[in-house]
């Protein structure tokens, strides 16, 4: 019995050592380096945001790896700073509004693209998504130019519409994926039971698609939340600003690192949080239809 036990132990240790091959070591090192590259800026940002003044203004001494006296006073300062609070609310409003606009327009479009086969559909779908083929900066001039004529510059609606424009392709893409996973039978069943196409869309298809569409909404929200270029050109000469625009303004009056870092943390937190929350749906949305 005893011999057998030892024998077993030996083999498992043998396997364990044998399991670590050079290729594995290289892969592992690669992953660690990737993590460092991704996490280092986050670490610096968080570190600064909780730094006290003496850890930032060191008078020639090297800046410490961890603040001497970690503090939340920067955040307290932000909460008391009117421009920050107003900008944060502006950002939320713009993001919500752009999510609503792009969903209200994008969802029916996606449904139509998935359900009704018609000539030129692929061309249309490609065109709808082509907005993302150009760098954002390219669309700034035409959008700002148009919005000036429509008197939409320096308005929340204007920024929200611009953001909706940017996010529409994503909404359509995600929503198409969502609708593709919903069996056609449900739609047909509703119609046989007496529902009109519209009734079937609102009472059956939309509720079933809701979790996926919520993911799209959050995605749009985040895209708007941290969008800078369009917001900057549309709001730069007015009194309202979104958080990223405020950050730029604060940057331009040579502030302290720790204040900037605190704003950055406030800007990033919802993105990180929501991305974790909707990750599952994002993947479903992206791969739906691929396995069919």
């Amino acid at each position: 019995m005893a011999e057998k036990k030892i024998g077993k132990g030996m083999t498992s240790i043998g396997l364990w050592i044998g399991g670590i091959r050079p290729t594995k070591v290289i892969w592992f090192a690669g992953i660690v380096m990737m993590l460092l590259m991704v996490l280092a800026p986050v670490f610096v940002m968080v570190k600064y945001s909780i730094s006290d003044r003496s850890s930032v203004v060191t008078g020639g001494l090297p800046i410490p790896l961890w603040p001497y006296h970690p503090t939340v006073e920067q955040f307290q300062g932000l909460a008391a700073m009117d421009t920050f609070v107003v900008s944060a609310f502006t950002s939320v409003k713009v993001a919500l509004l752009s999510a609503v606009i792009s969903l209200v327009v994008g969802t029916p479009a996606a449904y139509a693209l998935v359900r009704f086969r018609f000539r030129g559909m692929m061309v249309l779908a490609t065109l709808l998504i082509s907005a993302r083929l150009f760098p954002d900066i390219v669309s700034v001039v035409p959008i700002v130019e148009t919005f000036i004529r429509l008197r939409l510059v320096n308005t929340l609606l204007g920024v929200a519409m611009a953001h909706a424009l940017l996010s529409m392709p994503y909404v359509i893409f995600i929503a198409m994926g969502v609708f593709e996973t919903i069996p056609r039978d449900l739609d047909e069943q509703a119609q046989v039971l007496g529902a009109s196409k519209w009734h079937s869309f609102t009472r059956v298809m939309l509720p079933v698609a809701l979790p996926g569409l919520a993911a799209a909404a959050i995605y749009v929200f985040l895209l708007s939340w941290d969008e800078f270029i369009l917001a900057y050109f549309l709001l730069a000469f007015g009194n309202v600003s979104t958080l990223p625009v405020l950050l730029q303004k604060v940057l331009s009056w040579t502030p302290q690192h720790n204040l900037l870092a605190a704003i950055s943390v406030m800007l990033s937190a919802p993105v990180i949080l929501f991305t974790f929350m909707v990750q599952k749906y994002m993947q479903t949305g992206a791969t739906a239809g691929a396995v069919k």
């Binding site: 069996p183 039978d185 007496g194 529902a195 079933v208």
Partner: protein, 385 residues
């Protein structure tokens, strides 16, 4: 309850014609099954009746109304999909109430009807469950309840039992028959399972490559198949077919199978005269071939062949036995009481009175001329034409 009439219905998908000139009348209160191998177009027919598929040409009447261009919601039909298509975000009750709400039933009437449907399908206690919390059989019953609760003129069932396991399928088959008896509804049922078709229907419509091969009661299609396809499709195990030629010997007619000759009974001779010296296909069901030791009919030179057993499949109540000789394979059903072993000689007796003879080219039966279902009584009322 309504009569459904399909009159030279055709359906084309692009360039391919999937349904060709289909004529079928389903009487009110009748249970008719469309059965056929996959791809024969049976589901397409059902979907055309439901209004989910556009009819390329021909006329569809539900009741006495031309229904070709009536949208699904106004046809007065209900359908149970193969996938059940339960609305996943609604409870059992909400699912069942869906159609009633649209049809604007009064609340008290609605509750009464839901209750009735829940009772009919033994769903009491599951009212507030979501579809994902139900078993396959329960989902199936909810789909049925939702379809019958709106009192449809016609109930369309698309392979509703195919997703259930074998035991449950048998149970639901009986349940379905009971529901039909209770409701007296006009039902069009689609299945690829010929046993389901035979056991459930008043009449069976066998489809093959977009056409009706034969329509008749289960007994008719079993006893008097009009063509080789129906003969081979109905019956389990499938009918044996042998290629041969009709020849005259000593004043009687025989089918010459090359190595053997089987005598055609006198009662069938007259019909076979026309095919004398022509190629035919002889069909005989496994249940109409006997082991000589236990033959129900007299063994004569004209119906008896020596063969060798090949494979024996014991099923308990009967054995399916394959025998062969000289390249001719025969399947027969035997009483398990008689011991049958592989690779042993066996004398088999053909009950030639129950044989079928088909023209080799047209595949039509020489001896049975089936009534092709119901003929369309003319003139049909067609107010919209």
């Amino acid at each position: 309850m309504a009569t459904v009439k399909l009159r030279s219905i055709s359906k084309e998908f692009g360039a391919s014609e999937v349904i060709r000139n289909l004529d079928l009348v389903v009487d009110h209160g009748e249970f008719v099954t469309l059965v056929g191998p996959s791809g024969c177009g049976k589901t397409t027919v059902l979907r055309m009746v439901a209004g989910l598929e556009v009819i390329t040409s021909g006329h569809l009447y539900i009741g006495h109304v031309l229904a070709n261009h009536i949208p699904p919601r106004d046809r007065g039909v209900s359908m149970v999909f193969q996938s059940y298509a339960l609305f996943p975000h609604m409870t059992v009750s909400e699912n069942i109430a869906f159609g009633l709400k649209i049809k604007k039933y009064a609340r008290s009437e609605m509750l009464k009807r839901i209750d009735w449907a829940l009772n009919l399908l033994n769903l009491q206690g599951l009212e507030s469950r979501l579809p994902r919390d139900l078993s396959g059989g329960q989902r199936q019953r909810v789909a049925f309840a939702r379809a019958v609760v709106v009192e449809p003129e016609v109930l369309l069932l698309d392979e509703p039992l195919s997703n259930l396991d074998a035991t449950l399928r048998l149970k639901m088959r009986i349940e379905l028959k009971r529901i039909h008896k209770k409701l007296g509804a006009t039902i069009i049922y689609v299945t690829h399972d010929q046993i389901e078709a035979m056991s459930l229907s008043d009449r069976v419509a066998i489809m093959h490559e977009g056409k009706l091969a034969q329509v008749g009661t289960p007994k008719e299609v079993y006893n008097a198949p009009g063509n080789a396809f129906v003969a081979g499709f109905i019956g389990n195990p499938a009918m044996n077919f042998f290629n041969g030629k009709i020849v005259r010997r000593d004043g009687g007619l025989f089918v010459d199978l090359g190595k053997f000759e089987l005598s055609i009974p006198e009662s069938l001779c007259k019909k076979c005269q026309s095919h004398l010296a022509r190629e035919v296909s002889l069909g005989i069901r496994p249940e109409h071939i006997y082991d000589k030791r236990a033959s129900k009919i007299e063994s004569l030179p004209g119906n008896t062949i020596e063969m060798v057993t090949d494979v024996v499949e014991p099923l308990g109540d009967r054995d399916i036995v394959q025998v062969n000789k000289d390249g001719i394979h025969v399947t027969l059903l035997l009483d398990p009481e008689i011991e049958t072993k592989p690779n042993k000689p066996m004398t088999i007796v053909f009950d030639m009175a129950r044989c079928h003879i088909f023209d080799k080219e047209t595949e039509k039966s020489i001896i049975c001329t089936p009534s092709h279902g119901k003929t369309l009584e003319e003139p049909l009322l067609s107010p919209l034409e």
